[in-house]
Amino acid sequence: MLNIEIDGKSIEVEHGSTIIDAADKVGIAIPRFCYHPKLSVAANCRMCLVQVEKFNKPLPACATPVADGMKIFTRSKEAIKAQQSVMEFLLINHPLDCPICDQGGECDLQDIAVAYGASGSRYTEEKRVVVNKYIGPLVSTDMTRCIQCTRCVRFLQEVGGMQELGMVGRGEHAEITAYVDKSVNSELSGNIIDLCPVGALTSKPFKYSARSWELTRRPSIAPHDSLGSHIEVHVKDNKVMRVLPREKESINECWLSDRDRFSYEGLNSPDRLKVPMIKHNGAWVETDWKTAIEFASGQIKDITNQYGADALGVLVSPNSTMEEGYLAKHLASGLGCGNVDYRLRQTDFRLDGKRVGTPWMGVNIDEIEKLDRILLIGSNIRNEHPLLAQRFRKAVANGAELSIVSPLDNDPLMDIAHKVIVRPNDMVNVLGQILKAMSGLQRLSLCLPPTLTKLLEEIKVRPNTQAMAESLAGHGKDYDLIAPKVGIFLGNMALSDPRFTEMYSMAEAIGGISGAKGGILPAAANSTGMHLMGVMPSSTGMHARAMLEVPRKAYLLVNIEPELDCQHAALAKEAMQKAECVVALTAFKSQALEHADILLPIAPFTETSGTFMSMEGRVQSFYAAVKPLGECRPAWKVLRVLANTLGLDGFEFESSEQVKNTIFGGEKPSHVVWRSLNNNLKELVEIEVKIKSSGLQRIGEVPQNESDPIVRRATSLQKTKYNIRPMARMCEMQIQALGLADGDIVLAKQDKGSAVLKVKLDNHVAMGCVRVAASHELTTGLGDLMGDITLEKSSETDYKPYDTLIMEARA
């Protein structure tokens, strides 16, 4: 520890701290623009110049390490003079267009200018003008306002993983720009808006829609991925105007993914359902709540009376709150129906009943950056959990070795030590090789189910998997780690795969040998919470897939668009069509709900209170940020009233808190969670080793901005490059093997359905696979996300323009 003095205050600071750290620690404000605690030090704005005893010139507080006995003056005449002179320089070329600038009112330059600027300017020459840049649909630029602090440049390079902005030109001609003809495509790009200390980078969707002082800020939790990022919902006139990150060091730090930041546009979509609707003679009729609820409960009662409670299927979105999930499950069980599930995109349910507890990610989010070795199985991490990818990036920057087993070779924008890119079928084999190699390294015979032991005997370990196993065992180029901290994680593609049981069992066995932590990376905001509460079929009930395979007479849908949110789009569509009655609790009047019979308008997350449980088991409740739109009601209330109308007991809840207390039995949620989270299996699970060696497989990845009904309606996000028309993406060898060429039109067939697609060369896809995006209106004819698929050459005339198809689909 070092003893220093700042403005007469004696303090003790850690060795290696900078002056600005020390000052921040004792609450002495030093003005700054370029400095940001999460980014590298640039020391270019010079605003933080302070006087230091024994130095004849002022020093930048952000870049000057403290020394023992240092005496620092942040408010001395010399320091103030230096700060004021920098302020004057910063303002001479700044347009001072605060009245028309979106940053006005929350602008560092404005605030600091009030404290350090003069009331008039000595600058009478012409001001510099900089041409604005187009950097995509999310970030708006007014480059004349830029003060060249390079925070945006450093963020994209250091946190985003790719330098997409840079400073070109010298002196006054220096300007921030993207690569020629390129936009900023980072899935974390919105953070540069927050980082920009002036109004050079502002939010495009928010532009000119409100002044910052008109907005009420309400805390909430991000609803799209299972990170549980803390957000701040900014509200004006009972409308969500924008969403910003709320600092939470252990979860989202000070960042937010673009999906969580810009999805709010979906909340204000014209698609929003505002009144209950009933289908009458094939036409939608608006009605009141009483009629709608009574009608719904009547229908459900009739069907369950006539065909048995088993004839009902309840599908709940994993993005719904715990309260909603709990009530939906108990409504079903109250009727005697065991057909409840939230695992809409899962194919393989063989592990049901074999788990000790609730599967989770197995580590805390902020532990990831401390891992030494990481194995990611079937995860396109930047697509699935954009902000979590950043934690992995930090781990790799800290020296961790990242290994990837996946059918997709998408660049995670961090160094990969080892990777095997193979068909999902062969991933089982590859994991087996790693397991075998690891047991060889340990010279140990494993206690494995006989089928697995037999499989391992047959498997031949290849050099690349051997290398991966050695990496996981801590062997290194320069030195070996005796007890490396290892993390093994299964991503969305593994979770949706019909071989999930095999992948999971092997990952668990590899984890057992390597002493790894880890688990699954659950896809949605409340996947873990839904599992904890058991929003899953009873021992006699049907899981999500079975409910569609063997169609039910009636469905209760909570917050889903069946053909876009279920793993088998065609089956979902068909099941809804065949059903006698579909009651949908939904925030949107969706095309995908055309086959429903009753639409009950529910409040999305900003309009209701509720609770999400994150991938790391954090139970986080939130309040409504705005009042429900139109006749919308929070889903927990709708379910409660529906249950009451059905005459079920145990639904006397007055608030969502009461539901929450019931869920946790009055205990502290963290105690319940601690007891429940467990990735272990109760018993050895037999695996099936019927692995087909031929046949084309679909990789039906859900694009990040198609993951749930809200984000699908966020218009600006829909304009990003992540939302392009689904194509049949294959590697060069695969295209040749099928006798096709890049740009050919093919008819993709899965089960009974099909889609007309254009072939696109994409060498990031494993041989034997074709990547066709799911959760898209143009691929709802297709089946399993990770199933077999065939491609037939088709003619150009079948390939209709995108807009025509969308219109047709919506007609």
């Binding site: 010139k57 920098v86 910063l90 510099r128």
Partner: protein
């Protein structure tokens, strides 16, 4: 390729008038074909290197010798070379680098060009000795982008040295190896700043780094790196050959050896003059044939535009060494002496100089990026007859606000001419502002 370059350049080069000069770094100029390896060998070139490597002279002894020589950095800062060398970490697990700064980009600076053009092998030998002393494995000579021909020529000299076994693996059968490469810039003045130069070598935009850490601990590719000026390295073989004391004795106390003055402006014979440190300015001026056309001397910028201008009266008594020029409140800089006669308009001169700094600011940090443009625009207004009397105080204030508040020394470099011109020639500026035209040429 290399051979043809060599011969074409050498024929153009025979310089005989060296009377009054003391040639150390340009010592091959007395010979025919000065740049050739044979010439250099004839003068005892590479002998010191061979002796040092084969006799395994201790690095500490070499550093002591360099310290004794009184050699100070010739690029402008004047930091004692021996002391700088002693900052390089002795034990380092990895590659250490050696960098030569031949990026002379300031107006009026052209001395290093003549070294690589007429005496490249002495520079190479100096760098190899430095590499041996500091344990560097790889070296780069960063050459100003505008002197392309000289860059290509230096590549030829490097190849000659490699072929002759003075560069490469296991020199003279020892286990000492050193590879030296030439790198050329693209014409940014800022790349003459050592950390911007390092960034540029790494392939990045030339922008100074914040110091500390200094290159000795975090240089090229983040590895320990020693950066010296061309003239400094070129002095080393002479020091090794004749001893540090002999070198120190050439000059005056605190300024050892010789210095090349690149004299330009209003003299009869502009050019490079290598003279003993401490030579009186009068003598140096006489060497150059005096002020041209029989005119009177008005002022001298002794070390390049980033050093303060000195009026004629004060300049005539100055001795050309670090202390002498510092007494005249200027500095020896890189020795880029610009002589101005009585017909020179100081307002227009400053206007032109400020344009240079305005154009060459890298734009990284605020005071220099914004301040140099402001200074230039105000001066531009004055030159165009739109000046106001308060502009002079404004210019002084802006310059004081730039100076000492920037990442690198370019801030001071840009401020110094403004401050010194206005200080010494204020009436001329006032006249210009009042009359809207120059006091000197009436235009």
């Amino acid at each position: 390729m290399a051979a043809t370059k060599k011969s074409t350049m050498q024929k153009t080069v025979v310089k005989t008038d060296i009377a009054g000069q003391t040639l150390v770094t340009l010592r091959t100029l007395t010979e025919e074909n000065p740049a050739s390896l044979e010439t250099y060998l004839k003068l005892g070139g590479y002998a010191s290197l061979k002796r040092i490597v084969t006799e395994k002279v201790k690095a500490t002894d070499i550093i002591t010798e360099v310290k004794n020589s009184g050699l100070r950095g010739r690029g402008g800062a004047g930091f004692p070379t021996g002391l700088k060398w002693s900052f390089m970490p002795r034990y380092f697990d990895g590659t250490k680098y050696l960098v030569c700064n031949t990026d002379e980009g300031e107006p009026g600076t052209f001395k290093d060009r003549d070294i690589i053009r007429y005496n490249p092998h002495q520079l190479i030998e100096g760098m190899v000795i430095a590499a041996y002393t500091l344990g560097a494995r790889v070296g780069y000579n960063y050459i100003h982008g505008e002197i392309w021909q000289d860059y290509e020529f230096f590549e030829g000299a490097l190849q000659e040295a490699r072929d002759a076994g003075y560069l490469g693996e296991n020199l003279f059968g020892s286990n000492f190896s050193f590879d030296l490469y030439a790198v050329h810039g693209y014409g940014a003045y800022i790349c003459g700043e050592e950390t911007a130069l390092i960034e540029s070598i790494e392939g990045k935009k030339g922008q100074p780094r914040f110091k500390p850490p200094f290159p000795a601990s975090y240089g090229v590719f983040g590895k320990p790196t020693n950066v010296n000026n061309t003239e400094s390295y070129t002095s080393i073989p002479w020091i090794m050959q004749h001893g540090g004391k002999a070198f120190a004795d050439l000059g005056v106390p605190n300024s050892g050896g010789t210095k090349i003055f690149a004299v330009s402006g209003h003299v009869e014979k502009p050019g490079n003059y290598e003279v003993k440190m401490g030579m009186p300015f009068r003598e140096l001026l006489a060497l150059t044939g005096g002020v041209w056309k029989g005119r009177q001397l008005k002022a001298v910028i002794p070390g390049g535009p980033s050093t303060a201008v000195v009026p004629a009266a004060a300049m005539m008594d100055v001795t050309m060494d670090y202390d002498g020029l510092s007494k005249a409140r200027s500095s020896i800089g890189a020795g880029s002496m610009i002589v101005m006669d009585e017909t020179t308009c100081m307002v227009k001169t400053l206007h032109r100089l400020s344009y240079f700094f305005y154009e060459e600011s890298c734009g990284q940090c605020t005071p220099c990026r914004e301040g140099t443009g402001w200074v230039y625009r105000v001066l531009d207004r004055i030159v165009n007859g739109q000046g106001k009397m308060e502009d002079l105080d404004l210019l002084t204030d802006i310059s004081n606000n730039i100076s000492g508040r920037t990442i690198c020394a370019l801030g001071e470099a840009a401020a110094t001419p403004v401050l010194s011109f206005i200080k010494h020639f204020r009436p001329e500026f006032e006249y210009y502002i009042q009359h809207g035209k120059s006091m000197v040429d009436g235009k």
